[in-house]
Amino acid sequence: MSLRFDIRKCVAWAPGLESDEDWRLWQQGEKALTDELSLPQLTSIPAMQRRRLSPFAKIALHCALEASGEYQANIPCVFSSRHGDLHRTTKLIESIALSKDLSPTQFGLSVHNAAAGLFSIFTGNRAPLSAIAGGQSSFMQGLLDAVAKLEANNLSRILYVYCDLHVPECYRPYVVDDTSIGIGLLIEATEDENNAYNLSYNAVEDTLGSDCQALNFMGFILSNESQLLTNIHQQTWLLRRG
């Protein structure tokens, strides 16, 4: 089965790649990811609220706000992340190890749906919202969840936000293809078969894949390629144009 949809807007943020122009140059091989991750300013959020945002939350919210634009107050959303705000969670675990009391702010904002919840609070958005994690396939699983909801609920549009950050030092030996990246997509229903994307998924015997799906997706969306095929563990994801 294949699900059809249109991508009306794509906003992404990664170390050294912040604007549409940066990403265009990256796709053409004229710009590369850097080591230093700078953070979006988020000037639309009041300073007293902004101070509680972690780097993870800032990047996820930037992508969510920019991609949803005029629809941000009422658009249904799907947020996806493999690790969530692991830097916050790690600080909590370290506090427990040191028998220190936990920071209530860190605790409250470490849950997997924290960025989605913050987005809903800042925009006053009360539409259905979910936060998912799907291992190394988190980008594609989240996209699948978003386009399946678009189809099943006959929505005109849905916001999809994916975000992961380079994991904290102590987890690095266990994680491959670890890239800091946030992507926000304004996804719309479409009847136009020629200007649409189709996503399909197959379970396969066994494949060994370790690509960063989110980066591959950015490479595909900015290109003229007709399809993006990714294999991860026992899953094959196919995203086709037209």
């Binding site: 936990l102 920071s103 702010t105």
Partner: protein
């Protein structure tokens, strides 16, 4: 300014991520919550934990007494001194 007051101001700025505020911006006698610095109820919890971690002094939750101690830098500093 007493050393303890200075220390408490630094603790407040650090524990509550008040990036744009310096020690000089916080008045010893000004209210910390709502008016004055404009902190909220999550900040009160956070500050309670920070004080417990730094001075090993526990200020009980939402009681009339705790509201008095949390009123300003001065009241917090006085409470920490008598509790040490």
């Amino acid at each position: 300014m007493s050393d303890l007051n200075h220390e408490i101001k630094l603790l407040i700025i650090e524990a509550l991520d008040l990036e744009d505020i310096s020690v000089d911006d916080i008045d010893d006698d000004a209210p910390l919550f709502v008016d004055g610095l404009g902190l909220d109820s999550i900040d009160a919890l956070e500050l309670g934990v920070a004080i417990k971690n730094a001075y090993n002094i526990k200020i009980d939750g939402n009681t009339e007494d705790s509201k008095k101690y949390f009123y300003s830098v001065k009241t917090l500093s006085d409470y920490i001194q008598i509790s040490k």
